[in-house]
Symmetry: C2
Subunit: 117 residues, 2 copies
DNA sequence: CAGCATCCTCAGGGATACTG
DNA sequence: CAGTATCCCTGAGGATGCTG
């Protein structure tokens, strides 16, 4: 389900609401890094997502106005995803978290995934 | 359960891991705003949390090194919670998200909660 | 006051198979 | 290629009651 429409306690609450979902922040990140991406490209960039989850999370992000979805009526079908303006600004806000998280990974000596199963 | 110890895809992943949990970011926020807080004070500041959840989330934040818990051996018991250094820096990273979220609340015309049952 | 112990619900998410 | 459609299961989180 996409983000609720409030009521919210504060901005953090609203932002976390929109970004909660196992893959959403990662999808945003991926789109910010690469710009426009096709479905299969995203799938490859997020090792471990199932098709179902990827579609679902993308649709919710679209519904919340963070991602733009463009369908090209071709055979074979092509669908491209990109961030909207709000998606871009959310990503900039997430960047600070990314830095903090990277430091935490160092600190606790966690591994980074290259390819999960 | 507290945050896993990786492996992580990236910093965002690690940060979201630590902050995911329905009340964690709100607890962090509350502690940043007020400094040291007692259990009951936090409870009052987070309308809608159950005792169980508040304890649980606090313990996980403690386990992850973001919150410091101090018990005073008195009767009646007193327990104070405060952010650690890492908690403070995480909160600073969350601030950007808070701003974005506040703008989103404006944009979609969502309500803000004052008191949820 | 600041918890701990239980029980229970429900929806987020995984696995698998099929389609325009 | 880019999805639908189903079934299923785990576990986060809620409700309630008890305690040092």
């Amino acid at each position: 389900m996409a983000a609720r429409r409030g009521p919210y306690f504060c901005g953090i609450d609203a932002a976390m609401d929109v970004v909660s979902g196992k893959w959403k922040s990662l999808i945003l990140w991926e789109l910010a890094e690469h710009g426009v991406r096709r479905f299969a490209q995203l799938r490859r960039g997020l090792p471990g997502v199932s098709e179902k989850m990827l579609v679902q999370q993308l649709r919710e992000l679209e519904e919340d106005g963070l991602v733009h979805r463009e369908v090209f009526p071709e055979v074979p079908p092509r669908v491209e995803y990109a961030l909207t303006g709000h998606g871009v600004s959310l990503n900039e806000a997430l960047a600070a978290l990314g830095v903090w998280g990277a430091e935490r990974i160092e600190r606790i000596g966690a591994e980074k995934v290259v390819y999960a199963s």
